[in-house]
Amino acid sequence: MSFKATTAACVAAALALGMGTTVAASDYPSSTINWVIPFGAGGGSDRLSRVFAAEAERHFGGASLNVENHPGAGAVTGWMHVLNQPADGYTVFNATPTPIITLLSEEDAPVDPGEIDILGYLAAFASVLVVREDEFPDWDSFISALNERAVTIGGTNALLLGAANAIDQAGAEAIYVPYGSTGESVTDFLGGHIDVAAVTESTALTIVPENGIALMNTSSIPLPDSVNEALGNPPMITDLGYSGLAFPRWVGMHPDTPEEIKARFAEMFEAAATDPEIEAVFEAAGEPIIFLDREAAAADYEAMVNTMRNAIGLLQ
């Protein structure tokens, strides 16, 4: 940090201390924004957050974005941390469905998944069902097979939720085999130990077309065209009139944050996420930005929580 920025930060901190939390929205942001992620350093979320923080600073009025790791308790520790910080817009929560799944799995969860204000999606990965073409050439044959025999679907817990949600709506049942990591589930799919692999689109790209086809995209949000094409344009579950389940990298704030600050942040966040330069960096990292603005993201989030609540029951 340069001396100037340091001084500015010190002055800002002193002012903030002096004035309590009544920070005017007009000069937001005037100091460092803490970008909280509920995962440890080194994981996928950490990597993308750091890339974003480094690239996006210029869209946040010169305020620096400081990535803070608060892992633990099924990614709920970070959420609790955010709720314990002042609701002044200087603490942002950037998470995935992991903490939501934890909260919905608990009988007495410490917070409700609604205790956050969603301000946008930075990405939304899909649970894509990958199968061997000779076994299940299309969705209809897949569903009829499900009704005749027990079909095994493997994947990580989150991705199985997407699969279970889709299959449940089609009125069918399957055997969901949970895996700790995508590596293990894909190995078992390639080895023929399970019938279907529920994977993200980026993993699906490594399997399709040599070792399988993308049978169905169970997400609520379409994939980028280039990805869709490479996967052989799989149908979307929403085309069938069912609800889909996307796995967003969402960004939110303490619910008590003043509205002007939330609006201001959402604006700056949108500017950063739709900046072609930043988009190109994410594209190169193999995780293209799939941006949803505040309104669309909040609506999808609410639907996602409800859908998950039901789907989690199927997997317990």
């Binding site: 940090m1 340091t6 930060a9 010190c10 901190a13 997997l315 317990q316």
Partner: protein, 157 residues
């Protein structure tokens, strides 16, 4: 038999009581009896672990080595139990301070106190080391890209 309390048999008995209490606790928990979708009890594996411990503790009371005393326990004194606890409390306190004051402020007092406690003399050497070592460690970790807690010094770096 004055030293019976140090024998394997006695240790087995203490363990049996502690582990038995743990087993009863788990048995009383409602979650332990919840059936998962694959038919397994949620508490099955934990109970297997405690069960195995219980079995081994019982075996220690009865097996051929029961009369033997563990080597490290033969000259043990009561201070062997509380001194490590004091050490751990000191380390815990140091970490607690670290997360508030930062690594650079919390570790010198800890290092100084422990070095003197362990018998390092002269005092001057202990003071110098307690200041130099944290600075070197901090610099090294910063160079590697690991951010140690900065605490109230955060503004300076």
């Amino acid at each position: 038999m004055s030293n019976w309390w140090r024998s394997n048999q006695a240790i087995g008995l203490y363990l049996l009581l502690i582990i038995g209490a743990l087993f009863t606790y788990i048995l009383w928990q409602p979650w332990a009896h919840r059936v998962m979708r694959d038919g397994f009890l949620l508490g099955m594996m934990p109970m297997m672990g405690v069960g195995l411990m219980l079995l081994c503790a019982a075996a220690m009371i009865m097996d051929p080595l029961r009369k033997e005393q563990p080597e490290n326990l033969q000259d043990a004194r009561t201070s062997d139990a509380w001194l490590p606890i004091v050490m751990l409390a000191g380390i815990g306190l140091c970490f607690w301070a670290m997360s508030r004051l930062g690594f650079l402020l919390a570790s010198p007092p800890f290092l100084l106190a422990f070095m003197l406690w362990f018998g390092l003399r002269p005092v001057r050497l202990a003071i110098i080391l307690a200041i130099v070592v944290p600075v070197v460690v901090f610099a090294f970790f910063t160079l590697l890209g690991v951010r140690l807690p900065q605490g109230i010094l955060a503004g300076i770096f």
